[in-house]
Symmetry: C2
Subunit: 257 residues, 2 copies
Amino acid sequence: MPRFKLTLEYDGGPFVGWQHQANGLSVQEVLETAIFRFCGEQVRVQAAGRTDSGVHALGQVAHADLEKEADTDTVRDALNHHMKPHPVAVIAAEMVPETFEARFSATGRAYLYRILDRRAPPVLDRGRVWHVRSRLDAEAMQEAARALVGRHDFTSFRAKECQARSPVKTLDRLVVNRTGDEIRLIAEARSFLHHQVRNMVGTLALVGQGRWTRADVERALAVRDRAAAGPTAPPQGLYLTGVRYDRDAPRAPQQSP
Amino acid sequence: MPRFKLTLEYDGGPFVGWQHQANGLSVQEVLETAIFRFCGEQVRVQAAGRTDSGVHALGQVAHADLEKEADTDTVRDALNHHMKPHPVAVIAAEMVPETFEARFSATGRAYLYRILDRRAPPVLDRGRVWHVRSRLDAEAMQEAARALVGRHDFTSFRAKECQARSPVKTLDRLVVNRTGDEIRLIAEARSFLHHQVRNMVGTLALVGQGRWTRADVERALAVRDRAAAGPTAPPQGLYLTGVRYDRDAPRAPQQSP
């Protein structure tokens, strides 16, 4: 039974998140319903990142096993047809070996966080950015972000509900750039704790406001207490931009959260 | 009576365009209503570019004379408050001399046109791009765009309804760049004919599809006949990104369309 790797874009706004929930529509349900309409198969899809309600994706990756014989272009186009009018699209469909697992084979995940820091409300980017009404110091945020890069116990940036076995993660990259009225943060790691990116952004925003220094961020990290770090930045600024798979990497669930 | 220069961002999707129309809500009406709610004055505002229905703005400029004494921050914040929930925002308000006219003092206008050329439909950029389902050759489009730069009779790219006195315009810049699945065209001129940017984009898309060459674009320009050029690209890909005012330039309505 062929396995398909599906690269997905979605607007997280109208959904309860990636994963099935009793209280509303999930991206997973939209995709699984489209697969059912396409080939009559009830398939459970798995994704690399279980994005929260309101969080967007530019390059989420999921996999699904389909009995139906179809080429990758047909799968992509048919699923896009059946997902209308929901704001979810399959950007690419590829055949992969059955050892491929969207979640456990992933060796890297990249997120973008967008902050609009101006007085006027967002218009074209409504629901797509965190609106902060006062100017933030992006350079101070970049300097403080360096304190978080590397292998650390990220308990201070971990949601209560986080199911990862260990709070120790290696943050490979955390960069902060300004373009006009927008600050963009890029975070890359093999995997993240639940809310880790949003908690790091909420903490760095305190630095951007001049209320915290890099030393405060270092202290918050060191004490391993969620209450010591800053607030959770809102979901609508967050984008899962891509998932990396190393061709030669073994399927390795034991190394993942 | 102080004159205010207002820099505006808006989503053109829900509007009949910048200008008042009997058949629906205009951006102008939203702004004029907000001014009335703010200070009780019935003011007619004028803008640098009368964008069509569906066309967006990142940097439209309008001016308005207000009797009410208020500083620029108050004007900006109050108008933003009163324009809710419409997707229109005043990014900046400045006091200007009463010789300043948003339309006639403008010495340059810049537009961006966004094309998403991939099979999958737009999701996060729904209503923000022209979706073309086959890949376009952006380099060929850039090469053909060079034929349009400079001073020309742009009759072939002019809407029937265009009210400009002359079809002769100087196109200062027309560049085509690809980023991933998106092609961005940037057009700059002192002023444009009605639909000129969208007609140029629709024509260059023929080149991107391999159906036309640069020579075809040159021929279309030379014959001065709208029927000789390509179709009008849809409004939702177009953005008025900015308006230039040269500090020393005289108020010069006689030089404008």
